[in-house]
């Protein structure tokens, strides 16, 4: 009997928090650091008589996120009430676009197992409101055995975009690349900060297996992954679990499973699945987006990271690896381009940014916007190295000093005792003359022809380099010293 093979079939739903100042249907702030239950009002608390009013900016950020994923804006979309009964949902229903979304039909590219580019289709992005945050703990802070849950409605009504992929993903690696690419793109578009640590990006995965004997496992929805690592591990666990069941001739149940990150397992969700009853939201007429608005938002779209990286490779001569590193974060790419615009050679500026700038940012845990060395200054340092005014070692010394201190380039060069253009000509001749005078015995030995191996010459050469603080060019030292000894 030939061995059975299994192909994973994976679709991902990603919620991102859209970057706005106010909630989706009311004027409450979206500040995530606010004390519990301070950003609440009758609308997001679902009090009788209150009416939702859609935030213009939520629609715009949804369009930007959709465009970043190659989606098309839908001229007419609609809101529904998705009803279920739970304390995190004060109205008893969530307002969501569900099946008639504001943008649809896009894709994100990832690399398959053979390294080839593969399109993962994005079915749509729909707008919806977030539910409240629940804290489950006993009065002594323990989770186990707590009898009460505490609800913070600050999160109720926060604007979300839910991005639903087609089941085109075949491995956990593809899933993670899809999610990372999505994060990078919506950040570039300015649609969302997509900060995982702040719960601004959350994943659900639908995993099933296709068996080579024609059997098709049922779809299992895995929830509660809050990091890329968790997404990867949860999918891998689920593939293994389902494979084992199918191999032993069993049947995979269609169910919702919960990822437990600490234990590294998924387990059947004990929460009863509610009937998700949908009706059209009677308080919100259809959302109409006209062509003028679409054009305006299209004009707001910045160059996406992959297009930018291609430009760096083809127009500036960077390697693909360097281009990918620089474009990973928009602020870093902007910094690099400002450097080039200020006159730095692109390849050398790229090396400086990816090795020195990113190193210092990583060490100091700072953002590039807080970085002391402005791109124009780095460009000047790079240019001085090109013009041989500074050696690479000196340039790094200057750069490190400027990273740690508020100062001006020329002052730093002076302060560090650097002679721009190096020590040469008369200055070098003077150093050589002093070194020879201070070492008459060595001079005598060389002149008597005893220094057959050139060791004494090297000794003097070393002294000259030391006296010039490394600022003399070695070749010039050899030439000038040879000439001086012949005198």
């Amino acid at each position: 009997m030939s061995e059975l093979t299994f192909t994973p079939v994976i679709g991902i739903e990603i919620h991102i928090r859209l970057k706005t100042d106010t909630k989706i249907f009311c004027a409450c702030s979206t500040d995530t650091d606010a004390p519990a239950n301070t950003n609440i009002c009758p609308v997001c608390m679902g009090l009788p008589g209150s009416l939702p009013r859609l935030n213009h900016n939520v629609v715009e950020k949804g369009m930007l996120a959709g465009m970043a994923l190659h989606c098309t804006v839908q001229p007419r979309s609609l809101f529904f009430r998705k009803s279920y009964f739970y304390p995190d949902l004060p109205k008893g229903h969530q307002i969501s676009q569900c099946d008639l979304p504001v943008v649809a039909d896009g894709y994100i590219e990832v690399h398959d197992a053979e390294g080839k580019l593969k399109k993962i289709r994005v079915n749509h992005l729909h707008l919806e409101e977030d539910a409240a945050a629940m804290h489950h703990s006993a009065s002594d802070g323990r989770l186990e055995g707590a009898s009460t849950s505490y609800v913070d409605y600050n999160r109720a009504g926060m604007p979300l975009g839910e991005i639903v992929s087609e089941p085109d993903i075949s491995s956990s690696a593809e899933a993670v690349e899809y999610a990372m690419n999505l994060q990078r793109r919506v950040r570039y578009a300015g649609a969302s900060d997509a900060d995982l640590d702040k719960g601004m990006m959350r994943f659900d995965a639908n995993v099933s297996l296709k068996c080579s004997d024609g059997r098709w496992g049922r779809k299992v929805e895995v929830k509660n992954m809050n990091s890329f690592r968790a997404l990867e591990r949860a999918i891998e666990f689920e593939i293994k679990r389902q494979k084992k069941i199918l191999q032993s001739g069993g049947e995979v149940l269609q169910e919702t499973r919960h990822w437990n990150d600490a234990k590294g397992v998924t387990s059947a969700s004990r929460v009863k699945e509610f009937y998700r009853k949908f009706i059209v939201e009677p308080d919100l007429p259809p959302l109409i987006v006209n062509q003028e608005w679409i054009d305006r938002v299209t004009a707001m779209m910045p160059e996406m990271p992959d297009v930018r990286a291609n430009r760096y490779v083809h127009d500036m001569g960077l390697t693909q690896e360097a281009a990918d590193i620089l474009t990973d974060d928009k602020a870093t790419a902007d910094y690099f381009e400002a450097c080039v615009k200020a006159g730095a050679n692109p390849v050398r500026a790229a090396n400086w940014v990816r090795t020195e700038v990113l190193r210092v940012l990583n060490e100091t845990q700072k953002k590039i916007s807080e970085f002391r060395v402005k791109p124009e200054v780095l460009a000047e340092i790079v240019r001085r190295v090109d013009d041989r005014k500074l050696s690479t070692t000196q340039a790094k010394e200057v750069f490190d000093y400027m990273c740690a201190n508020d100062c001006v380039l020329d002052d730093v060069v002076k302060k560090l005792g650097i002679t721009e253009g190096g020590v040469a000509g008369n200055a070098l001749a003077e150093i050589i003359s002093n070194v020879i005078k201070a070492n008459p015995d060595v001079l005598a030995e060389i002149q008597s022809g005893k220094d057959t191996k050139g060791k004494k010459f090297k000794f003097l050469q070393g002294l000259v380099m030391k006296e010039s603080k490394g600022q003399a060019k070695p070749q010039e030292v050899v030439e000038a010293l040879t000439a001086a000894l012949k005198k």
Partner: protein
């Protein structure tokens, strides 16, 4: 389309309605009669007719993204008896 007694009972529970056996009989009959009427719509040719959602030709009004804090949050707290500090309290229902 016909709904079973169990399905109607489920819908009633979701609507927070506890029906007696007699009331359930009545509800099953009432709902299925209504569904029969809807079935008669199948005779209509609805090709190229968009699903109905709104009676009036309105567009969704939009709001500027400007914070306007609600000042009477205490009033909202006063609506609930289940408050602990700055939190609303509910019986624990979530799994670990």
């Amino acid at each position: 389309m016909k709904l079973s007694r169990e399905e109607v009972n489920d819908i009633a529970l979701e609507s927070r309605l506890l029906l007696t056996e007699k009331e359930l009989d009545g509800a099953v009959k009432y709902i299925n009669n209504f569904l029969d009427i809807l079935d008669s719509f199948k005779e209509l040719d609805l090709t190229n007719v968009e699903p109905f959602s709104f009676a009036e030709a309105l567009e969704c009004p939009l709001r500027e993204d400007k914070v306007k804090a609600f000042t009477n949050t205490q009033g909202i707290f006063n609506e609930s008896e289940h408050v602990d500090g700055s939190y609303f309290k509910v019986p624990r229902i979530m799994e670990d």
